[in-house]
Symmetry: C2
Subunit: 108 residues, 2 copies
């Protein structure tokens, strides 16, 4: 089945997953030539290893709690907290409590 | 006083404002050469008149409820709902219940 990406002005649900978190996989909500928006599902204890992207990103914690490592410095993000990261910075994410995060990537 | 914009990896609070909504003004959280993130405060009944920007945007309702008009079609956004809008589309926002929304703009 083809993965559905939202079209312009289509309403997308980003409320906390709650009980459904454990059965939900990371998925791309929006993808265009210049923009990608992904909901990353990160159960407690799971690691998204260090990586980098060329463009700027924003990372918003939708539920739970993660540690966001930016160039070796750790930042704790709980529900309702976000940050932006300059392009090219190495970063990693680790679930502290079952979490989902909204990542917006400016593609270059 | 200079307006503070977040630096890379600075943690930003985007939890619902609740009781503080009525005394909070729309403000820019992040501003770089390619990205702008604004928290728009829109009390019930208030209108942000039709306008357009060149780049793509995402609009996420952080609390309350708004009607988002995209090229003449209305979309209702409640807490935890979002959409993206292609660049150049005329849009307007109207508060239905006291609302704040997170708007991410790709600058071109």
């Amino acid at each position: 089945m083809a993965i559905h990406h939202a079209v312009s002005a289509e309403v997308i649900d980003v409320r906390p997953l709650g009980e459904r978190l454990k059965e939900t996989r990371t998925h791309t909500l929006i993808k265009t030539d210049t923009l990608e928006v992904i909901r990353i599902v990160l159960p407690g204890g799971k690691l998204l290893p260090p990586h980098r992207v060329d463009g700027e990103i924003t990372v918003q914690c939708l539920e739970g709690c993660i540690v966001f490592d930016a160039d070796g410095t750790e930042h704790r993000l709980s529900q309702g907290q976000m940050l932006y990261l300059a392009g090219g910075a190495t970063h990693a994410l680790r679930g502290i409590e079952d979490a989902s995060v909204l990542v917006t990537i400016l593609l270059k």
